[in-house]
Subunit: 338 residues, 2 copies
DNA sequence: ATTGTTTCATGAAACGATTCATGAAATTTC
DNA sequence: GAAATTTCATGAATCGTTTCATGAAACAAT
C-alpha cells in the first residue's frame, strides 16, 4: 500500500503563522491563547489544510479517541441496532468505533480485550460470553448484559421488568395458560432475569405457566418436541408463549405455522429485543423492546468517564412493549436499500 | 479516563536481552537476524510481555493496520452481512476494522473519506451514495457497487446476470406477465444494471413485463397505487414480481397480503441481496443472493494491494438464486441470541 | 600474512505531537 | 516610577518506534 503524501505538520503551521509550536498545539486543543495568535494560527491551519496526526497525538497522550465495541455479530437485528446506536453515540463525542465481531468465541473475546492494553483503543464496550474473561480491574471497560464484578459497570435493559411485562401483556390479551421458552448461554447474565420476571408476572396475574429451557448447543428440536407434546386434536395447550428473544420467537412462529396454528389468533407470542426487519420500524413480532439508544448512550458515557471510582456497577434501563407488525414511534432510519 | 499503566518498550527489551534497539525492531518485524540474537530477544519479549506500541509504529511508518468501512447502516441484513464478512476478511490479515455508519448522509461520507488523509486508517472500503465524493486518485480506496472512475476499483455482484437470472427463474416458475419494481438512489451505480439484466432476461424468455421505478424519497405509496391499478376482480395482472432489493420485496409482500394475495401461490416474488432473518440461514424471500463473502474478500485484497497501478477498475462476482424460506448451504453463523 | 569483500549488530536521528520550565512583556502595587 | 506580580508565548525535551549510515567481525582471495 502506498504511503500517503506527506501532510503539513504543526511545525509548518507554526512557521506559516509566525508563532511557536506550542501555540499551535494550544489552538488545536482549544486551550487559552491570545486572540490575535489564535486568528493567525487558524488562518494558517485553513491555508495549509492542516490535520493533526493522530499517531503522534496518541504516542504522547496514550489516547486514540477510539473505542472498541465487541459484539457477537451484526446479523441479529438487536446486535445490529446496538452497533448502530453505539456508533452514533460515539460519533457525537467525536470518538471512533472499532467494531469487533467475536462470533461468541471466547478466545477472540479475550484477544480483543487484550488490545486495550496495547493502547490500541481508549476503552472497550463488550457484549461477551466468555465466563472467565480477564479484565484488569479499573480498566475502561463496560459490559452489556453481563455483570462481571465490581469495578466493571454493566448496562442492561430491565430484564426482570420486561419478563413481568410479557406475562402481564399475555394476561391482558386474554391468555390463561402460557409457556416460557428459552435457549441461550448458560452463563449467569442479566437476560436470565427475564424468566424470574415472567414467573412473577404469572403469579401476580394468576396465569398458569410452564417452562421449557434449553442450553446453547442443545438441538432446537427440543422445542418442537415440547410443543408437540402439548398439541392435541389440532389445539395447543397454551394460548400464549413468551420467547426469550425475538430470534427464538421468529423460529417458534415458523414451527407453529407448520403445525397449522395461527399467530396471534390461536396463540399469542411475545419475544424480547425489539427486532425490526430491515430497520424499517415495523417489529418482527410482538416484543419487549430494549432501549438500544439509551443503552448505547449509557455505555459510552460510562466508558469515557474520567473518575472510574464513581461508576455505577449495574444500570438497568426501562423497556417497553410493542406489538408485532406495528411501527415504532422513533423515526425509522433512512432506509434506501440500493 | 485513566491512562493505562506504562508498558515495557523496545528499549526495555533490548536492555533485558543485551542487544541493540534495532535488533529488537528486526525481530519484532520478522526481518533477518542472527539466530542466537533472535532467541535472546524472543525470550526477553516473552519475559516482559512486550507489545509493540501501535502509535509509535504508526508515527514512523504511517501504517495503522486498520481499514475504515463505510456503510449506510447495520440494519439492512445485506449491510450487516457485508460488515460481518469484511470484519472476517480483515481479521484474517490481522487488520482492524473501523465501521462507520453514514446513514446515506453525503456529508458524513465525505468526512470519513477525509480521515484517510489524516492517516487515521490505511485505506477505505466504502459503499457510498454521495455522487461527488472527493477522493484523491490513487488513494487506497475501494468502492462497493459504485464505479467512481479509473484508479478507484469497484467491487460488485454481477448485477446484470442477477437481473437476468431473476427473469429466467420467474419464467421457470411458470410466470407469463411480470413486473420490475425499483426504488433507491437515482445515482448511477452497479445495481442499476439489475433492470437491464431483467429486461434482457424477459426478452430471451418471451416474458411480458412492466416497470415501476421510484426514486429515493418518493412515497412508497407509488407502488401501492401501481399494484392497485393492476388489480381487478381479486386478481393481479402479474404472476411474478422482481423487486430490486429484498427490503422492497419484503414490503411488497406485506402489501400483497393486505390485498388478499398469497405468495407464491398467486404471485411469485423475487428480491435481490440474499437477506437472511437473524442470519439463521433461511432467506426472507426468494432472492438473488449476493456473494458477500467473496465481495468482502475482494475488497480487502484490493484495498491492501501494494501496487495500486494494477488494480482492476471493476470486479463483478457471480450471484446465485435461493428460494424463500430455504436454508443456505453455507454454514449459518453461530446464533445464540441471548 | 595482507587486502578486499561481505555480513550484520549498532545506536543516533527522525516521525509529529504534547508538555513544561523559561523568561519577556504586560499589569498591578506602593 | 520602580518593584513585584501576573500573563503567556516560546521551544527544547519527550513519547516508542523505524531506518540507515557506521564500522566491527568473519570470511575469501591472493
Amino acid at each position: 500500500m502506498k504511503k500517503i503524501s506527506s501532510a503539513p505538520t504543526m511545525k509548518d503551521v507554526a512557521r506559516e503563522a509566525g508563532v511557536a509550536l506550542g501555540t499551535v498545539s494550544k489552538v488545536v486543543n482549544g486551550l487559552p491563547v491570545g486572540e490575535n495568535y489564535r486568528i493567525r494560527v487558524e488562518a494558517a491551519i485553513e491555508k495549509l489544510n492542516y490535520q493533526v496526526n493522530s499517531y503522534a497525538q496518541g504516542l504522547k497522550s496514550s489516547r486514540t479517541h477510539s473505542i472498541a465495541v465487541l459484539l457477537p455479530n451484526t446479523f441479529n437485528p438487536f446486535f445490529a441496532d446496538l452497533a448502530h446506536q453505539l456508533n452514533l453515540a460515539l460519533q457525537r463525542r467525536r470518538y471512533k468505533m472499532l467494531l469487533c465481531c467475536t462470533a461468541f468465541n471466547p478466545t477472540e473475546e479475550q484477544e480483543y480485550i487484550n488490545m486495550v492494553r496495547q493502547n490500541k483503543v481508549d476503552g472497550i464496550i463488550g457484549l461477551t460470553y466468555n465466563p472467565d474473561l480477564v479484565v484488569e480491574p479499573d480498566t475502561p471497560y463496560v459490559t452489556i448484559d453481563r455483570y462481571m464484578g465490581p469495578g466493571i459497570p454493566c448496562v442492561a435493559s430491565d430484564n426482570y421488568a420486561g419478563g413481568q411485562m410479557a406475562a402481564e401483556k399475555l394476561a391482558d390479551l386474554g391468555c390463561r395458560k402460557v409457556a416460557f421458552l428459552r435457549i441461550g448461554s448458560s452463563l449467569t447474565n442479566e437476560p436470565n432475569k427475564r424468566r424470574s420476571g415472567f414467573e412473577n408476572g404469572c403469579l401476580v396475574r394468576h396465569l398458569d405457566y410452564e417452562m421449557k429451557i434449553l442450553d446453547d448447543g442443545d438441538p432446537f428440536d427440543g422445542f418442537v418436541d415440547f410443543l408437540k407434546e402439548h398439541f392435541h386434536n389440532g389445539k395447543l395447550d397454551f394460548d400464549g408463549l413468551f420467547c426469550v428473544t425475538d430470534n427464538l420467537a421468529f423460529q417458534i412462529m415458523k414451527v407453529l405455522e407448520s403445525m397449522g396454528l395461527k399467530v396471534p389468533e390461536d396463540v399469542q407470542i411475545i419475544g424480547f429485543d425489539g427486532a425490526r426487519m430491515f430497520g424499517d420500524g415495523s417489529y418482527v413480532c410482538s416484543t419487549i423492546v430494549q432501549p438500544t439508544d439509551a443503552i448505547a448512550e449509557m455505555c459510552v458515557e460510562l466508558v469515557l468517564m474520567d473518575n472510574m471510582a464513581v461508576r455505577p456497577p449495574l444500570v438497568c434501563l426501562p423497556v417497553s412493549y410493542a406489538s408485532g407488525g406495528t411501527t415504532s414511534d422513533v423515526p425509522s432510519p433512512e432506509n434506501s436499500g440500493i
